[in-house]
Symmetry: C2
């Protein structure tokens, strides 16, 4: 059974974490949520609570098969965590799924893995994505190798379809 | 394209509405959300906003192919609305999908369609379901003809799988 890592922090976008998480579980994947502190509860932008099952320090990159990064304001925190960036870099080198939606593109920007890559994300961070060398597209989902990205919660159906195809 | 109706009211359980809604859209269904007032925004138990696209009065039973009732405390309000109960009764007579999760079982109880039916729901309303003549099971999802039910948000993967099978 493949294991997909979710990264959480304060003010994550509630549905951008929970929809992909439950959807992957429905499709038979194991999910694990990592946050700054194990067992801490993080609040979504709209208040939905999410418990971190493990801390960032406890992430073992070799034991995961893909990473999902939800949007909201959480990515602004996540991109500052060296362990988070290191895990993303390692997973990317092994061509494991890295999926990011909305503002989550900030995190792969800081992991420096987007140069020359086709991506999407909320129009608010289009400049940041392009300044990092990515090619931004105005589409519900964009796949470039192991990278899957979407713009907003309205794209969640397309985001999950693309993610599931990528994992097969 | 089949259309599935969602019923919303204040303090609906956020994921129990949004997960099935996005999941059905991903699978190619049209969804429509009805609330007491068209264009009003209802707050989930955890704060996620949901706009009612139409009012209960605007529901046309002949134009829908199934109904999903999320839990939370909203079902306590929904069960008092004669139009809601009438639509459920009509849809049930035509064997259209009626899916309910957690506390949502209160609504089909008040629509008086559960006598002799196999169902589940949060253990908190087990007595109410049994007193209405239903047979309660402690399972992630229970299907009895056109009725699909689940216990809690943790059952959402099973709830949606059962719902999608039922719609095929």
């Amino acid at each position: 059974m493949k294991t997909i890592l979710f990264l959480v922090h304060e003010v994550y976008e509630d549905l951008e974490l929970w929809y992909p998480k439950i959807r992957l579980e429905e499709a038979g994947y194991k999910t694990i949520v990592a946050g700054a502190e194990a067992n801490a509860i993080y609040s979504g932008k709209h208040g939905y609570p999410c418990k971190a099952e493990i801390s960032f320090d406890q992430i073992q990159e070799e034991r995961i098969d893909g990473i999902v990064i939800p949007g909201g304001f959480a990515p602004d925190k996540l991109r500052r965590v060296p362990k988070v960036l290191e895990v993303i870099k390692q997973a990317h080198e092994k061509k494991k799924l890295i999926a990011f939606i909305c503002h989550a593109g900030w995190v792969p920007i800081s992991a420096k893995i987007l140069k020359g890559k086709n991506v999407t994300g909320t129009s608010a961070i289009k400049d940041d994505l392009e300044n990092a060398g990515a090619i931004w597209h105005d589409k519900p989902s964009v796949t470039d190798g192991n990278l899957v990205s979407s713009r907003t919660p309205l794209d969640l159906p397309a985001f999950c379809k693309a993610m599931l195809e990528n994992l097969q």
